[in-house]
């Protein structure tokens, strides 16, 4: 079932799957993050889950009728982008990990790659696939390195790697196919705080290169992202 809707001036289409799932897409926006965040924050009754990706939002509703939900969606106001924050994020690139893969694929030396990353406008693109995994958007095309065909069985927490167009951060250990090039001593996932992750979709990240020694210092004296940015 397909339905067109206008939410705060944005034209979207809704597709309903059974009684439980609604997918929202738009031809007029290449990034649905602002809409997705607004829907999540609205806490509409009977809306159980809101999963946001830049190209699609998935809503899971309870079994109660979801027609009300459509009316409530139409009333949503999307926050403007000048409300987003800028966060400094310390990253230590002084590790071996997958640097040879990344240098080989891009044809660029490590130093140049690090400079390009630091000078890029990096934004928070997406949350998922597991808690505390953050997809950072904004890498120049020259640094897009595809994920490994055979994923590693174990990626350490705090690892940062390149997966296609995204820079990804693993807050928790996991198997993974991203090409690991650095690590951050800051824990972005703070369970059981609400919210579990303080950065928001579309926030800007300024990556700062730090030494292995500084990485260990901060790791040994843990501070939150907010404290680091004070």
């Amino acid at each position: 079932m397909l339905k067109s809707l206008r939410i705060d001036g944005l034209d979207v289409t809704l597709r309903r799957f059974g009684k439980e799932f609604i997918l929202i897409n738009s031809n007029n926006a290449d990034n649905l993050n602002a809409l997705g965040s607004a829907i999540y924050k609205s806490k509409i009754d009977h809306l159980e889950e809101v999963i946001v990706t830049p190209s699609e939002i998935c809503l899971k509703t309870s079994n109660v009728t979801s027609d009300d939900i459509i009316e409530k969606l139409e009333e949503i106001k999307i926050q403007q982008s000048d409300n987003s924050s800028i966060w400094k994020l310390p990253v230590c690139f002084d590790i071996d990990a997958d640097w040879s893969i990344v240098e080989d694929f891009t044809g660029l030396p490590k130093k140049s790659i690090i400079n390009q990353i630091i000078e890029s406008k990096i934004t928070v693109g997406m949350f998922g696939f597991i808690p505390g995994f953050i997809y950072f958007d904004g890498l120049p095309e020259s640094l897009h390195v595809p994920r490994k065909k055979v994923p590693s069985k174990y990626v350490e927490p705090h690892s940062i790697g390149i997966g296609g167009r995204y820079l990804g951060l693993y807050s928790l250990p996991s198997p993974g196919g991203w090409n690991i090039i650095g690590r951050t001593p800051i824990s972005l996932l703070q369970i059981p705080e609400i919210p579990p992750v303080k950065i928001q979709l579309n926030d800007t990240i300024q990556i700062q290169s730090i030494s292995a020694k500084k990485y260990q210092n901060i790791l040994d004296n843990p501070i939150s992202l907010e404290s680091y940015n004070d």
């Binding site: 597709r15 439980e20 889950e49 998935c58 949350f127 696939f129 505390g132």
Partner: protein, 286 residues
């Protein structure tokens, strides 16, 4: 006070409830009981709330010693449960006494079962739920499945008269699915094969997802250009051509085509299919 000590942990025994709602936005999965119908039955027979905790047992059951008297209900798969070596029935109030030992064997007629204790479990909630999600160390006992030597406590409730429900043997040889957002990535032949294939649950299955064994099917592409949202019950098709079913602890975004999904009622039934057991999909295009 009623408490239990875990003598043998079983294969995958964990504290679960109806799940952690509303944090999928942060990629924190719903988790919770894999067969909500059986879990609910155990709780209602104990006159407890649907949202109360249960102990979920998988394939190989735990051996548990009770301290203090209590009433419990066992539901779900048939673990050949015994108390002090005497057989006990599922779906019925059972009064256990101090020092009683609950034990069982490998499950038949399903793969997951539930123990509900008539009382309130003394434990902490994380984001509104006691459900165990091991990957992020939340819920359960210190964020983990039950281990040998673990101790759980309940504030018991007054005893009630015995009640029981007759539950016919479950048949989960066919699972109803509906077309997913990328159903049309499948060739006509593949759509046909998806419903003709007999699939078997692969050893590598767990609370995050079920991997299957079966004949590969064709799709026009096995990799979405962008990651899309996924939830428990979604069925993805990776390059192997063999579907993956996402389950309660599963990831919240994914790059494989979402060819189909199962609603909660069918997910509950699907979650009772044991490793090595076979089934077929049936399309409900409603």
């Amino acid at each position: 006070m009623t408490s239990i000590t875990v003598i043998k942990p079983g294969l995958l025994t964990s504290i679960q409830d109806i799940g952690r709602r509303g944090y999928g936005y942060y990629a924190i999965p719903i988790s919770g009981v894999m067969d909500s119908v059986s879990a609910r039955r155990a709780l209602l027979l104990c006159r407890l709330q649907e949202s109360d905790p249960v102990i979920e047992c998988t394939m190989i059951p735990p051996t548990i010693k009770f301290h203090g008297d209590a009433q419990i209900v066992l539901s779900g798969a048939d673990f050949n449960w015994t108390i002090n070596s005497e057989p006990v029935e599922r779906n019925k109030i059972i009064t256990v006494k101090n020092e009683d030992i609950l034990s069982g064997q490998k499950a038949t007629n399903g793969t997951r079962g539930y123990i509900a204790v008539r009382g309130s479990l003394i434990t902490e909630k994380t984001y509104g739920s006691v459900s165990t999600y091991r990957n992020a160390c939340i819920g359960g006992i210190n964020g983990d499945y039950l281990k040998k030597g673990d101790n759980l406590q309940w504030k018991p409730l007054p005893f009630i008269d015995s009640s029981k429900i007759h539950v016919p043997s479950a048949d989960h040889s066919t699972i109803e699915i509906q077309p997913g957002p990328e159903f049309d990535y499948l060739s006509d032949l593949a759509k046909f094969q998806l419903l003709e294939n007999t699939y078997t649950i692969h050893n590598d299955s767990n609370r995050m997802g079920a991997r299957l064994i079966g004949e590969p099917i064709d799709a026009s592409t096995y990799q979405l250009s962008k990651s899309k949202p996924v939830l428990p019950g979604f069925i993805q098709l990776p390059p192997s051509g063999i579907p993956i079913v996402l389950l309660n602890d599963g990831q919240t975004t994914g790059g494989y085509p979402r060819i189909a999904y199962m609603n909660r009622a069918n997910l509950d039934r699907f979650n009772q299919i044991a490793i090595g057991e076979s089934f077929k999909f049936m399309m409900n295009s409603q």
